[in-house]
Amino acid sequence: MPLLELTDIRFAYPGLDPVLDGASMRLEAGERLSIVGPNGAGKSTLLKIIMGLLAPNGGSVSAFGKRCAEEADFHAMRRRVGLVFQDADDQLFCPTVAEDVAFGPLNLGKSKQEALAIVDDVLTRLGLMHLRDRVTHKLSGGEKRLVTVATVLAMEPEVLILDEPTNALDPVNYAQLIDILQGLDQAILLVSHDPEFRAQIAPAGYHLIERNLARF
């Protein structure tokens, strides 16, 4: 059973040419795949379709063997799939790091004590404990990126989707991010323009080219 499966996805923004036309892909348990393609090819759109933030004009999205069509289906699948957004400022909206990391677990119905325990656990595991009580928007770009990964990992997703995670990272934070990702056992879907990063995290994957996905 694939963790994620897209079949024959077609999508166009209203009034524009189609972005995706018959794209299909699958992600198996424990697999690490990257998606590459030129700017504006529709990689971020594809991720939004996977997460149910955009509805495709045709084709189907399945997660964990179950077809996702309604918002309710996606609501269930989002508990098991974590998406790290391209712009960290979009993801970190709580005043402090601890509150932001706790946001997901609280939504999953954990109690405050459990959520706080998860916060400490995740931050310790990622070596970010020193940022725990910092104000999110005062973090540096690299720190913000690492914290967004923590906020998603706090929900213990089975699949981790990363959209251009290396944007604006300095070498130290870059190395730390690679370290963190290599230490995970989740399946990973990576969108990145950075060949070195892809080689380290997910060498195989799909080319998004001419509105279609091709395995490489």
Binding site: L53, R78, G82, L83, F85, D89, D90, N107, V135
Partner: protein
């Protein structure tokens, strides 16, 4: 303004990094007591009792442990907003003349009213600054939520606190890029049009950002409720503080009533 709203770990009053004694009190109690205090003081009219109220506010300031000089300076800043009204009042309210200035007669009644307003405003603003202003904006949001303020308003406030700086940075970036391309504001259509574009672009970006934030929140299981981590405790010291303040307010009301009767 953004600095005041978003300063790192700073309470809204900007007393940077300062841990005032008053911050250990329950924020909910502080907000409620401030509201009660304001209502009581506004309803007083005797000058002596109002002076006593100002004294009570000063006592609150001393009790709160906030730096007095800085706080009083802030209070004086508020006075600059009403100073003209206060100066005009003696000349605009008719009554027994006291003195005349450039042929304008000042009245006792107007002077009395001006003093009354000045005392009321300063007493209330000082209490607000010491009790509520010493609170971090985030704590205030949580406390308002605990006081059953509509969730939407609280979220609105918290998002404002979080994103006002991001928007300001975006504005600064756009302004810098305009400047780097030789933009010099002047009184001409090009300037107006460029500022129009700037504001329009800010709006578009803000809307798009809000959509991305909502998407990110949905991806983490958001269903329309933000659960807050902070728990408030109403402790013995909160009870004592609110009782003491209530007693002082009751004394003020009693003084006002007996003054009016005499």
């Amino acid at each position: 303004m953004t600095y005041v709203l978003t300063g790192n770990d700073k309470p809204i009053g900007g007393f940077g990094g300062f841990r005032a004694k008053v911050t250990s009190l329950d924020p909910r109690m502080r907000i409620v007591m401030t509201a009660v205090y304001a209502v009581v003081v506004v309803s007083l009219s005797s000058l002596w009792v109002l002076t006593a109220a100002l004294g009570l506010s000063l006592w609150l300031l001393a009790f709160s442990g906030l730096p007095p000089r800085k706080t009083l300076k802030r209070m004086a800043m508020m006075d600059s907003f009403i100073i003209f009204m206060l100066l005009m009042l003696p000349f605009t309210i008719p009554g027994t003349p006291v003195f005349s200035l450039w042929g304008l007669e000042a009245s006792w009644e107007g002077l009395r009213r001006a003093v009354e307003i000045a005392l009321t405003a300063n007493a209330v603003i000082l209490a607000v600054m010491t009790l509520v202003g010493s609170m971090e904006p985030v704590t205030m949001g949580h406390a308002l939520f605990a006081l059953k303020t509509p969730e939407r308003l609280v979220h609105l406030m918290m998002f404002t606190i979080r994103y006002i700086d991001v928007l300001r940075e975006e504005y600064q970036r756009l302004r810098t890029s305009m400047k780097l391309r030789g933009f010099r504001p002047g009184t001409n259509w090009h300037t107006y049009r460029s500022y129009g574009f700037l504001v329009g672009m800010m709006l578009v970006r803000a809307i798009e950002r809000s959509e991305r934030i909502l998407a990110a929140m949905k991806c983490r299981g958001f269903t329309g409720r933000i659960l807050l981590l902070e728990d408030f405790r109403f402790s013995r010291s909160d009870l004592l503080f609110s009782l003491a303040l209530s007693a002082a307010l009751a004394a003020l009301v009693w003084a006002e009533v007996s003054y009016a009767a005499s």
